[in-house]
């Protein structure tokens, strides 16, 4: 089964984090159900789930009940998505904040493809713009490249005026 990733799950790392959270929750849920059967008490501390994990769990909850099998299926699907989803790497001139990451990932999921993992990094030497790596394609839309591309014109200018 395929799930649309919540907006907060942007990068592969984010997805990995959610999978780990769900696995912890799965462990808790499994132990809890066993204890409930044996001692008629819910046991253990319920792990805190992040918003995207909660969003995903809400997708599989039925009549306020969460079936372990559905949780297993969810985790399995997410793991498959982690391996199979296309990945894009965007390098900016500075470390992007959460807002910028979200804005860009929303645009990408809306205009390019719905399920994609976007990894962000930064390189100060870009000065501005970005470098996007998608599959085997590299798109250098940085300010550095634009400045370097006008160097021949600069050479001509210097030659004419010196």
């Amino acid at each position: 089964m395929k799930y649309d990733l919540p907006e907060d799950i942007i990068s592969a790392e984010d997805l990995k984090g959610v999978i780990e959270e769900l696995k912890d929750y799965q462990t808790y849920a499994r132990h809890g159900s066993i204890k409930a059967r044996v001692t008629k008490r819910a046991g253990g501390t319920k792990p805190e789930l992040s918003r995207p994990s909660n969003e995903l769990i809400n997708l599989i909850v039925n009549n306020n009940k969460l079936a372990l099998s559905d949780l297993d299926r969810l985790i399995s699907s997410l793991e498959k998505m982690y391996s199979a989803l296309p990945r894009i790497k965007i390098t900016l001139a500075a470390l992007p904040g959460a807002g910028i990451k979200k804005q860009m990932s929303v645009w990408v999921r809306k205009n390019i493809t719905s399920n994609v993992l976007i990894d962000f990094s930064y390189n100060q030497s870009l000065l501005g713009g970005m470098v996007v790596v998608a599959g085997s394609h590299i798109y250098d839309w940085s300010l550095r490249k634009q400045i370097i591309s006008v160097q021949p014109k600069l050479n001509e200018l210097i030659a004419n005026h010196v």
């Binding site: 296309p86 804005q103 493809t113 100060q124 501005g128 713009g129 599959g135 400045i147 160097q151």
Partner: protein, 201 residues
Amino acid sequence: MNLFLQIFLYFDVFIIGVVATIAFRHAMAHFRPQKETKPTPSTHHTEPSLDKEVREKLMLEAEAKYQKLLDASIEHLSKELGITSDKINRVVDRLAADMLTREQDAYSKLIKDYQTETEGKLDDAKSQTNNYQSELKAKMDEAAKAEQDRLIDLIDHKLSDAVMAFLLEAMGHEVDLGAQMDYLMKTLEQHKDEFKAAVNS
């Protein structure tokens, strides 16, 4: 001319030989008088006997005549020898002069030939040197121009590299992503199609 000289020389030698022979016979007769031979009966004829004085007188007259003849011969021979030697000298001088002139002409021609050859070689060498100089000058000018162009190009590039490095260094600090967001989103919009094709491929 040579033939005449030879004949004349042979004739002179012949005369000298004759005169020498006569002189030798007279000398022999003078210093070794011959015994009188008795006339043979068949050839005998009666000669009158001469007085001693008459004989001596005759002898003296004969000697005088002989001496006169000898002197005349000697004089004639001397004259002839002088003429001959003059002619020989003249011929030898002429021959020598001819030979000298011929040798001189040959030598002058040789010298002239060598001179012409040397001048020709010098001209060749000169023209080769001039050609070489021109080629060398052209090559040097070309090399100098190429080096000048290379240095100018190097300077231009180094200058532009310096300007680029300055720009990159100056603009590299305090990058504000927030201010760039519009530009970033605009860039994504601009390249949406190729981006989509790359992701979906």
